[in-house]
Symmetry: C2
Subunit: 350 residues, 2 copies
């Protein structure tokens, strides 16, 4: 690959001049600029970004760490971030933090951070792993003085920029929809309430119920975890007594939703004929359900876009930014079949 030197030779100018026309930082006469541009095209010259980065100590590259980009939410986030980054002349390196079978999760996290550090990314978009010490991870990066924006999962007591959906509002949207469909005995199935997100969603449920004047029954709040099998077992138990059965169920995340649906099936319950259902978070391709499931969808692309934009503001030291910026976006309701009134249940396929 040709270097700037060769371009200079071919154009009959100095390397400085070539650099000047490339960066545009210093004016160059029409005549020489033309010569240089011709030489560039003739040689099929592409500026060596590596050398430039070394010189300027600016790689114009961002990193994004997601648990698993085969989970449909994340590619959208990445795409949003990539678009925002490219708009401002930055590239994006995406890496998966979930174990691919070999490494310890903790170890892998460190490796990835180290990788991105070595690559000299100028900022990191981070979806913290559901690992033991997320706080440790983050403060380690913050220590390195490389800007970080957290998305989706927000660490509990670390002051860090973040972009995510408004959990409380999102859950409320879902529950309010169920209420508007005429259901009153609505059960909530949550993941571990140790997670901030989950607590937020629980709060949204409470608010929606209270706003509708429906008393919140503690017996209808079922705390599960993120493993579908466990949740299914929990729900089977709760659903066993027909008389105590809720009219509708709202679940606060994808894996939990799968557990609930499995329990419905195991109990011989059909949706929405026997029980209505809605959930926070889109389900994955691998689980094609019918009736289609009413879902509170996160604005994944926007989350990525806004996060990258904020990160770049930090990197480029945009003036007048608050110390810690927290962006909360609004989720959208996708009404599908599972939350319909029983009498409106589709009688046929497709």
């Amino acid at each position: 690959m040709p270097s700037i030197k060769e371009v200079a030779e071919v154009a009959g100018v100095s390397v400085g001049t070539v650099s000047h026309v490339i960066t545009g930082s210093v004016p160059v006469s029409e005549e020489l600029r033309l010569k240089v541009q011709t030489a560039i095209r003739g040689l099929n010259y592409h500026p060596n970004h590596v050398a430039r980065s070394l010189k300027t100590s600016k790689t114009r590259t961002l990193g994004i760490i997601v648990p698993d980009m085969t989970i449909s939410f994340f590619p959208q986030v990445i795409r949003g971030a990539e678009t925002a980054a490219r708009k401002r002349g930055y590239a994006l390196i995406a890496v998966n933090s979930d174990d691919d079978g070999e490494r310890q999760k903790e170890l892998l996290q460190k490796e990835l951070l180290s990788l991105l550090r070595s690559q000299r990314v100028q900022g990191i978009l981070l979806v913290i792993a559901a690992a033991p010490t997320p706080i440790g991870q983050i403060s380690r990066i913050l220590d390195a003085e490389i800007p970080v924006v957290c998305l989706d999962r927000i660490p509990d007591r670390v002051p860090v920029d973040s972009v995510s959906v408004d959990d409380s509002e999102a859950a409320a949207i879902g529950v309010e929809h169920l209420i508007s469909m005429g259901f009153r005995r609505i059960a909530l199935v949550t993941g571990p309430l140790a997670l901030k997100n989950e607590r937020g969603r629980l709060q949204g449920y409470r608010q929606a119920m209270q706003r509708a004047g429906i008393p919140v029954e503690q017996s209808l709040i079922w705390q599960g975890n993120l493993r579908a099998a466990d949740v299914a077992a929990l729900c089977r138990e709760k659903l066993a007594v027909a008389s105590a059965r809720p009219e509708a169920v709202f679940s606060t995340n994808g894996p939990t939703a799968l557990g609930v649906l499995r329990a419905f099936r195991d109990c011989g319950l059909s949706t929405p004929r026997d029980i209505a259902f809605a959930t926070f978070d889109e389900l994955t391709v691998d689980d094609l359900f019918f009736p289609s499931v009413t879902t509170v969808v996160q604005p994944a692309y926007d989350i990525g876009f806004r996060a990258a934009d904020l990160l770049l503001d930090r990197i480029e030291r945009v003036e007048g930014l608050a110390d810690t910026i927290t962006i909360r976006l609004t989720a959208t309701l996708k009404v599908r079949d599972s939350s319909q009134r029983p009498e409106r249940a589709l009688p046929n396929f497709l």
Copy 2:
């Protein structure tokens, strides 16, 4: 961020020695190595990959260009490629070639190539865009003497390494399944036969039918395109006459499948009660169908993994490789509801 020089100072050795312990290319005494390692940890030093790349002109970075990573097939491919790359110490930059609304497709392609060239990626995994001149793109890269492996979509008359599914076999698997379910009048809905892949799948259909001794009726081969709406219109027309209606339909790609399913609905046909259905390629999250759709699934992760591995073989000049390597992987059948016998159609939901 500390540099190798600071490490050397702290450790009381020369930068050369530090470099030697880092790369391991030159033996260093136990004593000094320990000192160096201590200094590295103490300073939280991370080797500057940018500088190393400049010196060695090896970035240990691969690029992958996919049309749109929010299409579920591609994240899996990328993940496979990332895993293979990381196993051999390489990083991966993924970029989307589909227009995000602003740029011309052709232009964007060039930009991306230019971007990756500037980043000095050592090899490119390429899913060619369904653009006018894929051949132009590729030969331009090949000219630059940077190794390329094509995946998924293989250009027609360019000698280039490639990894993809065996289209003919994949289609045959799907059609044979329908035959094994007892259907004989099986229609085929294809995308544009200008595409090599589509022609391969047509061939697979023919073979499967012939092997089963079923005469291929030209009137049951419906050539559509990649837009669901068009395909739906085509199929509505074909399905209008009940007497001429096939017992089953196989479609050769995702968008086409959506068109077919839409036509079924429009014609009041239920699957599998009125007509059986199977397709090549998994459908996306956004289209939650019931009955669930029998699908011939591509080994997406493996395609990515194998492609990256092959690319790295090229980059590292592994001996004894053929001039052009063509890897064809086998697809898998996922039998779901849409291809069942009518009498076995599920009578209830979920």
